[in-house]
Subunit: 357 residues, 2 copies
Amino acid sequence: RMSRKILVLPGDGIGPEITREAVKVLEACQERGLDVTVDEALVGGAAYDAHGEPLPETTLAKAKASDAILLGAVGGPKWDKIEDLAKRPEKGLLGLRKHLGLFGNLRPAILYPQLAEASSLKPEVVSGLDIMIVRELTGGIYFGQPRGIEERNGQRVGFNTYIYSEAEIERIGRVAFEMARKRNKKLCSVDKANVLEVTILWREIMERLAPEYPDVELSHMYVDNAAMQLVRAPKQFDVIVTGNMFGDILSDAAAMLTGSIGMLPSASLNESGQGMYEPCHGSAPDIAGQNLANPLATILSVAMMLRYSLDEPELAERIEGAVGKVLDDGLRTADIAYPGTRRVSTSEMGDAVLAAF
Amino acid sequence: RMSRKILVLPGDGIGPEITREAVKVLEACQERGLDVTVDEALVGGAAYDAHGEPLPETTLAKAKASDAILLGAVGGPKWDKIEDLAKRPEKGLLGLRKHLGLFGNLRPAILYPQLAEASSLKPEVVSGLDIMIVRELTGGIYFGQPRGIEERNGQRVGFNTYIYSEAEIERIGRVAFEMARKRNKKLCSVDKANVLEVTILWREIMERLAPEYPDVELSHMYVDNAAMQLVRAPKQFDVIVTGNMFGDILSDAAAMLTGSIGMLPSASLNESGQGMYEPCHGSAPDIAGQNLANPLATILSVAMMLRYSLDEPELAERIEGAVGKVLDDGLRTADIAYPGTRRVSTSEMGDAVLAAF
Ligand SMILES: CC(C)[C@H](C(=O)O)[C@@H](O)C(=O)O
Ligand SMILES: CC(C)[C@H](C(=O)O)[C@@H](O)C(=O)O
């Protein structure tokens, strides 16, 4: 078969240094027979600085032509003053999601037993935590029209539209039911159906899908309660499915429960299995360029890429095994270090994973 | 001066039994010279069952004529099947907020030292926690138009509108700045200004107010980061101000950090100081009618009422002192009990607070 194309988008802040380590791991996979070509392009603030656009045409064209994308992170205070929302680094990311139709965002929140102490929660509350959040990524209030700021009756109003169609809900619902089927067969759909009409439709469509997945137990929870339950007893969840905005909030809260957001990868998939893979953490401008950042979430994003877009589950498992090994060996970047472990830099961590690979 | 009017709305689930204990405390205040008349009315599912409406005209009229309202809780599975959102118990609550203009929702998240063990977070992360969340309560996506479910291009879509005007943002901003001024002078405004236009306006107005409150330090945080930071290091916050939907989610998460949501009161105020007071927890239908519920949040809501609507800070402090005393004495309802404490019922807890008053 033809060699598949991977596009690397380092982005901003710590993006370049963490993707560098992940690319080393990709190259090690090539040495073990993975037939891929790796290209690179600009996105986010880096693209804005070079071309005045967070998502230049050339980057978008390369992204469309690739089988999978590895993204570092976008954004930072340097670009916060850009007045035009369309030029902000975030629009590079949102544009990629939208243009590539990457509606299915998978965000695992897993507590690594080696890192149990890093959590701000009591060990008994989080030990063994393994949740998968399925977030709709190309609709909802992120993209709804009309939107804007305008004058009405002599004063300015800001407005956005939270909107979902049946088809959009159904397709993310199917991703979530399938995911639950492969896991512990429990799916919790999160909405605010006691207040918002859009989520009444959401709940109705989830209910309509349920009979097609009789092996999966579907439940519903209001978003405020879900935020509480994640704090109180997160292990009650297996798979959570929700819209773009609620998913943004809940997946970050869930990731932080593990205390090691620097460890968590994510995948964003479209209908043909093309995917974008990125760490859950952001661009961390405060530590950028200092060889301090944790590259493991990005390396684990490569593992997700191998599993979901490149159909190479064995290589994915090898990467995950290598990450487990370096953690067992006590190697830690600053964000997950504690007394008795060995502090390493970004590149040392990448090298250690390679050595264990 | 004229005796002031308090309206009690027990509502659904555990509402009647917890408000009963709070009314006992109100009566004890009357014996100590508080000049109020206390009336009662139906709201929520209870009102729907009796009159087919979650907010009957008579209830609304009484509410408008009162100086302060004490609400138990509304809702429960019994009414979840009502198709028409306008008839659901929640609409009783939302209608009261809207018709009375109760835009300023104050939700404290305080960790009682006597209950430190109840939190799912590590003691060092939450000990001494004292956050005040100021949530806008009569605008945003809860009330925005247009809203509904309708057919477009052959399929149904659900939609809601997230909208704020300058004036709405300014008035909740002022409540928050004033609150910060009375506390530790730190205000964090939570938005999603990297994605949503409505919150770009929100951020702009908060910035515009800041010079009027030079003693208050204003910061901004994206809502996803705020959800993370609440889990990671909640003590970094003093006052948080945010819109209706984000406030719903974050205040519940913050309340749960304390592990004793059964302890947390809330106030909802309008421009003339009229207020509605209610516990942060819900109607807990699973334990309703069993004399098991914790009445302390409702009793503490009476204290908030005395402070914010009735200008009786000494009585408010007496109630808070009495609650502290029963906790010191080791009395606990089921939700906050642990080995070595004395399990008491709803009414026993109410009686104990009265005895300590
Ligand atoms: C950077 C931002 C636009 C983005 C989002 O809100 O989706 C980020 O928070 C995420 O969750 O990937
Ligand atoms: C019952 C519901 C409508 C309400 C809300 O969403 O505001 C509740 O969750 C609250 O926070 O008071």
